[in-house]
Amino acid sequence: MSRVLPNLRYTREHEWLLVEGGRGRVGITDYAQESLGDVVYVELPGVGDKVVQGEPFGVVESVKAASDLYAPVSGVVVEVNEALKESPELVNRDPYGEGWMILVEMADEGELEKLLTAEEYEKLLAGEGE
């Protein structure tokens, strides 16, 4: 059973968002890392790049497959998890912690309404056979 944290917001594509004031920290969920298997490369935008809600902002590659990463919110990237360059396996080991990917200065907090709550995300997983 994959872990879902109550304090996060989620996308249907299995990204999570942690609201930290006007910023949002982004990563992929435990379910996502489990489905992907061993992560061997993560391609992320640079600091200062813009991301748009619902659009790809990077790619996560596992031994099995490549998978696009979708931005949970729009905004400007203010920080990137540099540790993933050398240690992409952090995404598997600690998807909600050390495996975070980008920190975004949110452009429109109203967009949060479009994200799933933990409860809704759990339902989505139940539908996917989790």
């Binding site: 298997g37 061997v40 490369y41 391609e43 590659e61 031994v63 360059k85 598997n92």
Partner: protein, 360 residues
Amino acid sequence: MPEKTPLYEEHLKLGAKMIDFSGYLLPVQYTSIIEEHLAVRERAGVFDISHMGEILVEGEGAGPALNRLLTNDLELLFPGRAQYTIMTYGHGGTVDDLIAYRVAASAYLLVVNAANIRKDYAHLRQHLPPGVAVRDLSAGYAGIALQGPRSREHVKTVLGEEVAGLPPFGFTFAPYGGDEVLVSRTGYTGEDGFEVYGPPGAVRDLFRAFVRQGVVPCGLGARDTLRFEAGLPLYGHELGEDITPVEAGLDPFIKLEKDFLGRQVLLAQKEQGTGRRLVGLRLKEKGVARQGYAVWSGEKQVGFVTTGNYAPYLKGYFALALVDTPYHRERVLAVEVRGKRLEAEVLPKNFLKFFRRGGI
């Protein structure tokens, strides 16, 4: 509906993630592809290979007739020996690559790729004389592969010293649990190892016995990364109906001094050069090249990736690619990964051997 192998229940008990592979439900991984990969390189791992096809060709004249359909030379095989060989069409393209076991003076067991069983059977039936029997025994055979530097010890414990002492590509029929299994010193990982084929019950018991001894169960994910790291071809990637074994660089297994279907084309390719050749690539930057990605030399597209991945033991990003001649001789090419061209060093295909000899 995909078929379950005789080891299906074992896989579920071991917590495997199952997938449909060529019509068979098989584990892609149990815990992690990388962990399983490293277990085989450093210790020992065991794979379910029950999906592989087993076709028996026997009868008077079976040897010479079959030899006319295969690139390697069956005459070099005395009973008790197996060989890697390739079955080609008249146009030189590949029907399948397989292991041929000479199980009796005039009987050969061919172990073929799961996806090609029917096609191979039809091809053999079509080209062999009526006096030679061709029988598809796949449904009655289960199979496992025990691979890794410690396989020998495990085989010794479970099957005895004699079996453990088989030479490379040697095989024997060993008694086990009231049945008989075929054991060979073969594999598909670049490591020492054994493959076992036989009745489902006996093979299942053997699988259990190896796992009880601490051998790591390994899935198809690791099977693929292991063979890739060792530069071993996979049908559908490095070989296919439109890829000849000469293009794939399998020259040691092509005996042009004997006659076989497709020989003229392979001989011409060998003498005049092929239009393209399989090469090994090591990406200088991080990124995963996947099958079909374009390979560039300057502003010219000169080929495409047949397999690419992260190599867990070598801890780098590698690819196998079919590259137009003469660009295959260049030292550096580029692989296009999602719109970005990443520089890649051209290397021998067997990355593992190259590395172990101190090349990287």
